[in-house]
């Protein structure tokens, strides 16, 4: 099985799907709420704010400071 192609298509597929969701939310907000509205809602909770900040911060850490590939 061509795993590398399958995995790379998986990443590409998820990135594309993300853009599709954003587009659907823009065109039909009754089906999917816009990302901005979703973020405003989930940021009501400090737990979510901490979690999202740590995930964002870790991404920067992982690629700019930490050892990326072992």
């Amino acid at each position: 099985m061509n795993w590398d192609l399958l995995i790379e298509l998986g990443y590409l597929g998820f990135v594309s799907l993300g853009f599709v969701f954003v587009l659907i939310a823009k065109l039909k907000p009754t089906a999917l709420v816009p990302l901005d509205t979703l973020l405003r809602f989930i940021f009501q909770h400090r737990i979510t704010r901490i979690a999202l900040f740590m995930v964002w911060w870790w991404l920067g850490w992982h690629f700019l400071v930490g050892v990326t590939v072992r």
């Binding site: 795993w3 995995i7 998986g10 990443y11 992982h62 690629f63 700019l64 590939v69």
Partner: protein, 176 residues
């Protein structure tokens, strides 16, 4: 919290102790909130002027672009962003909170599934690379992005997108 604990355990298996510390501390921090230690913090959401946020982003972007990867300067910039994050986000939750509409509920499920699927793809690649010892046959996102980040354009794009994403999520968008 389960996700953060799981990720910390995963990094123990990986032998990446920095990541264990980051996700372990995050899990502990979240645990304090789960158990109700939420009375500490600013009474209102702090608001930083836009020019200040843009200045922080610009200084961080230039520094991270020119500083060597994995170096002391990049480390210092990343550490300096933590107190800024605390200043912007560590305020108390409002007592009365909005209830989710059907569309909101659906959106949370869909975006949550999307993030889980993305993470599982990365996990399959990581486990596959460990079992086979072949990083090219089972490429993780790190393996794909690492050489890109060593090029000037690749690093510039990553630094700008990452910092603008952070400024949007935790600063600019929240000022409205």
């Amino acid at each position: 919290m389960v996700i953060f604990v799981g990720t910390a355990v995963f990094h123990i298996w990986r032998g990446s102790w920095q990541d264990v510390a980051i996700f372990g501390i995050s899990a502990l921090l979240i645990l304090t909130q789960v158990f109700g230690l939420t009375r500490f913090g600013f009474s209102r959401q702090p608001k930083a002027p836009l020019w200040l946020l843009m200045l922080v982003v610009a200084v961080a972007a230039v520094t991270l672009y020119f500083a060597p990867r994995h170096g002391v300067v990049s480390f210092t910039v990343l550490m300096a962003l933590i107190p800024i994050g605390i200043a912007l986000l560590f305020y108390k939750d409002q007592k009365i909170q909005a209830q989710p509409s059907t569309a909101m509920f659906r959106s949370r499920i869909i975006w949550g599934s999307w993030a889980t699927g993305f993470a599982l793809t990365e996990l399959v690649a990581y486990v596959g690379s460990k079992l086979s010892g072949d990083l090219e046959k089972f490429p993780t996102i790190s393996v794909i992005l690492d050489p890109v980040l060593d090029t000037p354009i690749g690093r510039a794009v990553f630094v700008v997108l990452w910092l603008i994403g952070g400024a949007y999520l935790f600063g600019v968008r929240r000022q409205r």
